[in-house]
Amino acid sequence: MKNRSLSHNRYWESAARWRRILLAVLILTTTLVASGYMAHILPHQGRTGIEMVLVIFFGMLFAWISIGFWTATLGFFILWRRFDRFAITNTLQPAASGGTNGPRTAVLIPIYNENVARVFAGIRSTYLSLASTDRSGTFDFFVLSDSTQPDTWVEEEVVWAQLCAELDAFGRIFYRHRRPNIKRKSGNVADFCRRWGKTYRYMVVLDADSVMSGNTLLRMVRLMEQHSRVGILQTVPMSVGRDSLIARSQQFASHLYGPMFSAGLHFWQLGDAQYWGHNAIIRIAPFMAHCGLPRLSGKPPLGGEILSHDFVEAALMRGAGWGVWLAYDLDGSWEEPPPTLIDELARDRRWCQGNIQHMRLLLARKIHFPHRVLFLNGAMSYVSALLWFLFLSISTAEAISQAIYGPDYFPIDGGLFPEWPVWNLGWALTLLTSTVIVLLLPKIFCMILVTVKQKRARLFGGAGRLLLSVGAEVALSTLLAPLRMVAHSKFVFITLLGRNIQWNPPPREDSDTGWRVALRFHGGGMLLALIWGAAVFTINRPFFWWLTPILIPLLLAVPLSVWSSRATWGRLARRMGLFLIPEELSPPHELSMLETALQTTHRERRLFLTAGHEWFVQAVVDPLVYGLHCAFRRQRRTVSPTIDRRRRRIVLKALTDGPQNLGQAEKMALLSDPACLTDLHKQVWELPGGEAARRWGIHS
């Protein structure tokens, strides 16, 4: 039987081996042919040192884009055939009707200083979708907060209580705040496992901006039940919910190209797939046994805590003999893209450091070879930008050198006969065209698939609009590619120099990039392009025209970044029928509920009276918010007399100077100590009327 076969690793491992060999052959062949062309268009056919370096860099870059091309092409054939004997979803058996018996599953939402309203609106939507099924009783939701901002912490508690009260979900949706956020998200999930992991068989990990449909959650659990050797089942979350131009373009790309790329990835990964950190279901027992992450020796960025924990957890799970599968055709799984280019690059900065850190694990024991390749692949996502930048820099140096010193007729030391350098323009154009085809053909495949085979073009606004949207997406991504190249090169460079990053949560709502912010972020790249362009224009004008597709976007980086961040431009594109996605034309129930919940969060809060003040002030003053906050604290831990005296001094300071003069750390100290908070709560209410009481929002 198929499902039994997928549970047994040998069945698919043999197929995976042959598929990976096929992919490697395809990539190597195309890379060798393209590199040969590259060598031939160079003046000395790649025989000088600098030309050899150029050819090697070109080969590495071409291999990199070939991986994407062949993955997409294989995905195209799988989706065209409409049959994949290894697709895990093909093995899904019908659910037994009725009953609430089933494996207990925890839905985890690890959060860190997030937009609280958005997080809980997402949870509400997923919870209600699950509640509409007949098997929701086996699921519990856990909001696992690592927030370090006092106002965010209190707000999370209040909104949690409001949500539980609204949905009658006390005892079904849980909230836990962890003060020392050791090992960040992976530590947060590990902390859950240590406290409650034994109670549940599976956990579904969601991101702060994730939404999943109840039916999808049920199907994932059923698949895990059917395949007892699957450790992690990853869905492909579709990007939705943003209005800015760049985000809408990425949402469109995620919907149009995503399924084909995912099918291609599944073709060669099979049970060696990646875990992307969210929108996935995990078998808890093996996860606890094998996926506890160590600290790497040395200091960050290459040592210390493992930042991109998900890839490593997948590798460890697989190393322990459990399958990691990608359910590429399972729908009902969503996330939100970054709203602006700068936000996207800030996220990439973290991922870059995390992926480069994986190089430390390349030779780790008990990691299967495909996962070593995936570590390398992850690092190449960013290192390739630096290679591209170096390739362009070396090409420029060579062009300038040619212009200044003239042709070198004796390029090889000791050569007896002169060599006439030959610039083969025809071959250069052929190579350029081939590269463009490798980059663009997958997009054309996607259009053909959606329009001809799947007949889903109307879900993207019709065939005409689909074509226009692809054109606009190609134009936008071409313009932004040099900006990403410069930023990623910088990230790789500073990571290798040993500079660590500060972790900040990504924004969860549209926010236009300001001109000053954009100038500060892209100013260096613009200056570089200006100097680069001026030098090449002056010294070697023909080469300058070859560089214009790189230089012009870099010179326009600031307006490109600002305009692409604008929600008004995104909405205009929508009105013009550009970048439409199925969820916009026919929103699923879960996303409609999310939208409604977000629109109602600004209404007057029903439970609490001091709304409008800082959340910290409410925790001190409003008896219900204070009561709720204290209810989470089990009992006061015994603290040293020094800490106790320090906290008492903070209480005194709060009473005399008011909340505005307290720092974040002082507020956190008060919120963490129920005894001190109780003292402060009582003494604030005992303040005589006047300025002191008004500072706390008490007007009597």
């Binding site: 209580a161 506890g292 160590p294 030779l363 024991r365 299967h368 709720l628 009582k682 009597s700």
Partner: protein, 162 residues
């Protein structure tokens, strides 16, 4: 308003008046601190979601208690004495908050109902599971990652790792 709800309200108002009549005698300005104390207690009870008629009753009790304290030559302000009295009243009688607007959510009233976690355990009031289920502790050891030599990696490519 029907008679049922009017009676406690009127009783509360009378109690409040009586408390005011027990307050120190003198000009109107002498009452100002007591007026403030009354308003503060009422505001606190309103924030707790205690129904208005019950608030007046409790306020009267708190003010009476505060006046007694004041007569013992306490140098504290009436507001402070009244609020302390209020906290004592709420701690003494947990049922006072049963009628509160959000009484169905006991987690909001835990500090008044079960101020001491040990007392909560002995009284059988178990509010903790509403925020998080009982902990069932287990271990999740960090993996000790050791590295392969390049030779064993090459060997692993030929003979798959077990």
């Amino acid at each position: 308003m029907d008679d049922g709800s009017r009676k406690p309200a009127m009783a509360g108002a009378k109690a409040s008046e009586k408390a005011a009549s027990d307050a120190p005698k003198g000009g109107t300005h002498r009452y100002a601190p007591w007026q403030e104390a009354q308003e503060r207690v009422l505001l606190y009870l309103k924030a707790l979601g205690v129904p208005p008629f019950q608030s007046l009753d409790i306020t009267a009790k708190a003010l009476r208690s505060a006046i007694k304290e004041k007569k013992k030559a306490s140098r504290e302000t009436p507001t402070k004495l009244a609020m302390r009295a209020l906290h004592d009243i709420l701690a003494d009688d947990h049922r006072l908050l049963d009628q509160a607007d959000y009484g169905t959510y006991p987690i909001l009233y835990r500090p008044w109902r079960t101020p001491d976690p040990e007392a909560a355990k002995s009284s059988g009031i178990d509010l903790e599971p509403m925020a998080a289920p009982p902990i069932d502790r287990a271990t999740m050891p960090a993996k000790n990652i050791r590295h392969l030599s390049l030779f064993s990696l090459a060997l692993g490519l030929i003979h798959r790792e077990k």
